[in-house]
Symmetry: C2
Amino acid sequence: MKSKSRSNEGRYAYEGLDRVIHERARLSVLTSLITHPRGLTFADLKELCALTDGNLSRHLRVLEQAKLVEIEKGQEHNRPLTVCRITSMGRKRYADYLSILEQVVRDAARAGNEESAREFIGDLIPSRS
Amino acid sequence: MKSKSRSNEGRYAYEGLDRVIHERARLSVLTSLITHPRGLTFADLKELCALTDGNLSRHLRVLEQAKLVEIEKGQEHNRPLTVCRITSMGRKRYADYLSILEQVVRDAARAGNEESAREFIGDLIPSRS
């Protein structure tokens, strides 16, 4: 409980935790798309993310406006088919976001009381002897 | 882009991503507290999380109402001193939350194009041969 030095300013602030990506449904959509580089249909995304039509549309609009995803409206067997893909900017922003998530996991593991995280990152964290 | 089987229902939904914890400022506060099991003063938390007085108070209130933190108002050298600690329920909920974050990192790594995540989790992810 003693005062911290100035070097601790914002130590756990996680400033890089991009608000557009951090929202749970959008994190879900972007992770689905990053694992499917050829794109996913609206129906597939809805299923993978367990979102309603309205919610998925709303979050896709936010992601499209931020230029993180692109949405292609076409046809297949004379039926409308919407295909969503992550953009190269989306990949870059997602990678930056992910590096902050990893930092959170590392910080929690360093607390020395988060067994799951410790097993996860294994030998990467030096033991506090 | 082919249809996914039913087994993919909610595959990337991350249902366990606790909304109380996921909000960036609260994630910041809880990670600070989990790394300081003896507690942190209001001033220390403010610094570590780079939050204003008002924002920190607001988020602490949410965390206290959810019984994830406890706040002790005392005195030191005749001056008021507020000390915040994570509760045992807070630890449990944070650990559950963290296991979902780890799943996000694993899923992104599996995409095979997230170098940082791949280095991070190393040999834990089997190669897709």
